[in-house]
Amino acid sequence: MNAPLKLWQNPGGLALPAHKETSTQQASRSLSAHQQAPLRIPLLQHAGLKAEAQVQAGEKVYKGQVLARSQGYTALPIHASTSGVITGIEQHPIPHPSGLTDDCLILEPDGDDDWGTQRLPAWPHYTEQNEESLRARIAEAGIVGLGGAVFPTAIKLNVRPEIPVSHLILNGAECEPYISCDDQLMQERAADIIVGAQIMLHILASHAPPSGQTCLVGIEDNKPAAIQAMQAAVKMSGDTRIQIISLPTRYPNGGERQLIHTLTGREVPSAGRPADIGVICHNVATARAIYRAVVLGEPLIDRYVTVTGPGVRHPQNFSVPFGLPISALIEQAGGYTDVAERLLMGGPMMGITLANANIPVVKATNCILLDRAFPQHTVMPCIRCGQCAQVCPASLLPQQLYWHARARDVEQAEKYHVMDCIECGCCEVVCPSHIPLVDYYRFAKDEIKAQREAQQKAAIARERYEMRQARLERLERERAEKLAKHKQALQDKAANKANTASDQNSDKNSKQDAIQAALERAKAKKAQQAQSKPTSPHKQDAS
């Protein structure tokens, strides 16, 4: 059908043991919300503005009802994962490495799982809708990138008109060990994903270059069942724009920038976005969420979550409503094993360590990994072996970045492109000195971001100050001009008066002389003024 696509090799990377097969042995299970009470639904679950609660304590809500929303480009609504009663809003730990708390709505499920009238209008014939209304629907459904970045999908689909979009890329690579939620989703929901892709192609159609648009779905070759299911779904759809591409398995080939390079040979410019090179990239799970939002009218209220690792008895995938505590998932997966020591959200490379399991599942929760105790190594000095540079997928010099970040020389770190680090952790894994390199890079990045923000703020403040100064100067000048004019008018008036007086009272000589003298003085002054006016107008104004 299609000519085989040339794949481009990424620099660096690692061949890691996948550990995926353990969690894909059985079909995914849907966890219903009412088995576990109550749900805690954080008001901020995406990269953007936090939503504000729209419901009161004690209010009955239906499944899919908007619980919170706020205004703004990056704001997204939060929906009820099931029907029930809102019992309050409280500060509760959210998935964050430092155990941060944030506002969470507490939803006591009633067990009916009732949509009421809250389902959005279903658009099975989505092609009748235009670009804007589809994007609005995607935003209204609260859809974010489900690969982990949780950036609002509607914004990512809102591309500038000047650069045509030649490729829509669906990311099904899932390169990080242990995580298998996308693998299982592709096996079980391939048709949904393909429709999601078609909806996105429809949205992007007006941006197509004359050569047309293709949709490439990249899947690592260690997921043959997913590849097969997706290929079958494409065949069923008969859509020739969509191609399933089997990728070599290598971490981090599923990183957005790496995947785009592998499939197109193009590199996303430093500090740029994929759209800058005519590529839009979305996760396969996001595509399925779009299908559900548009065709079925269901907002994003659940997702596939992998519960896996040596620390859990029966590793598997669940379809989980947001707000369910992680502990419930672990319980459903048979509970902890004896070796369970570390709880991570995400994979072993980029996941974050969680303090405990009493934390709700959110839109970003792709995997719950229960790992063994990790041997704590003493950090040794860097011996400049350069292994880190060999595995860096961005071709950075990780140890140079380390030296500069360590010395708090963020300027140098920026010069060595620390901002292009994707924090994949390959350098850390191969470091013979066990240096927590990525922590250093995060520090440098945060410093640079803070500096940039401060600079921006300072620039705005300076601009404001300068404008204020200019405005004050202008007002002062105008006032002075007005004053001078007024003075002139008064003087002219006085002179005129004197003239007419002298005509009428010619006998009053002494008075007339005095007036004459005054007149002459005024004339002299006038002449002087007229002379000095063109040469130094400012002085005049200021006087």
Binding site: P11, L14, L16, P17, P177, R257, H261, E267, V268, P269, S270, A271, G272, R342, P348, M349, T353, D371, F374, Q376, H377, T378, V379, M380, P381, C382, I383, R384, C385, G386, A389, Q390, P393, A394, S395, L396, L397, Q399, Q400, K415, Y416, H417, D420, G425, E428, V429, V430, C431, P432, S433, H434, I435, P436, L437, V438
Partner: protein, 338 residues
């Protein structure tokens, strides 16, 4: 402070494991040297490693650093071992002590310890004693003639700890590079020098082959990577071939350059020291090519018969500059760093 909490795949090696591999790779060459030079090599090894550990512990104590992790990283063992096989066997104890003092105290700890030394410690120690004690450093015992069957333990102890043996001169012999240097300076041709050469000289080639084997094993195990040895030997061999083809009077054949002196030891064990080498892909090629270049220049026109130590130190100096100008192109950026 705790290290990374990422789950490491089994391929990861610690600093100690890296250093252990280097020590294993030195074993064939060391065994061969032991066969050729007997007790003299053993005394070199024991004294070098003894002084190295002693000075390392002392410096760590003075610098208030924990002893255990740094003594068990094997790095100072590698330094000691490299010096032991570089110094002439039966080296007097004070010569080894001075060399180790420069290597461990000056080159390593005064610059901040493991990972912070801009110069290769073993080569700093070697160069320091080569310049300070040229007589002792150029008096190499002859291979075979100085092995266990000829020099006993008692004589070894006297040579190393007491006054030099009266008949010591009888055991020594010019090394091939030394003989070449002297011969060329007297206007002799390579062919006539080779004709006069004692058959024992082949032993130096074997030593280099033993180091080559160890080095290839390090390559295979992924401890070192190919750019440095290939660029070093390539440049050295290339320059030697060029002058051999151009029939320059003082040219030794390329194979002679590659398998005499410290060529293989330098290419696989010394220039590859990660701390003092360049770290960028292009930089490593330039760095190693520079070592090959200076080795050839000094061997051919300089005052010393061999030059690996000086060439390495010269290029160590250039590393910060090389690294600054040879960063790889970063993903998504147009070309070199501006």
């Amino acid at each position: 402070m705790f290290g990374t909490n990422r789950t490491a795949p089994s391929a990861t090696r610690s600093v100690a494991q890296v250093m252990q591999h280097v020590l294993y790779a030195l074993i064939p060459g060391t065994l061969l040297l032991f066969w050729l030079f007997g007790w003299g090599l053993l005394s070199n090894l024991i004294l070098s490693i003894g002084f190295a550990l002693l000075l390392e512990a002392l410096m760590l104590k003075l610098r208030q650093r924990p002893l255990q992790p740094f003594l068990s990283d094997y790095s100072v063992l590698v330094t000691g071992w490299l010096l032991a096989v570089s110094l002439p066997p039966y080296a007097p104890w004070w010569l080894i002590a001075v060399a180790m003092l420069f290597a461990v105290v000056v080159a390593k700890h005064l610059y901040g310890g493991l990972g912070y030394n801009p110069f290769n410690p073993a080569m700093v120690g070697y160069a320091a004693v080569l310049i300070s004690f040229p007589l002792e450093m150029t008096l190499w015992p002859a291979p075979f003639a100085s092995n266990m069957t000829h020099i006993g333990l008692a004589d070894t102890l006297q040579q190393v700890w007491g006054a030099p043996l009266a008949q010591w001169d009888a055991y020594t012999q010019a090394t091939p590079l030394d003989a070449l240097k002297t011969g060329f300076s007297l206007g002799e041709s390579f062919d006539s020098l080779q004709a006069q050469a004692p058959p024992d000289w082949r032993a130096w080639g074997w030593v280099n082959i033993a180091y080559l084997m160890g080095g290839l094993w390090l390559l295979w195990r992924g401890i070192i990577s190919w750019p440095i040895p290939v660029a070093l030997l390539g440049t050295l061999g290339g320059l030697a071939s060029l002058s051999w083809l151009l029939a320059i009077p003082q040219a030794a054949p390329p194979l002679w350059h590659l398998f005499a002196g410290a060529s293989m030891l330098g290419a696989f064990f010394i220039a590859t020291d990660p701390v003092s080498a360049s770290t960028t892909p292009l930089g490593q090629l330039l760095y190693a090519a520079g070592i090959g270049f200076f080795t050839y220049i000094i061997r051919t026109w300089g005052g010393y018969p061999d030059a690996i130590a000086f060439a390495v130190l010269i290029m160590n100096m250039a590393v910060p500059l090389i690294d600054a100008y040879t960063p790889p192109r970063v993903y998504g950026t147009s070309r070199w760093r501006s």
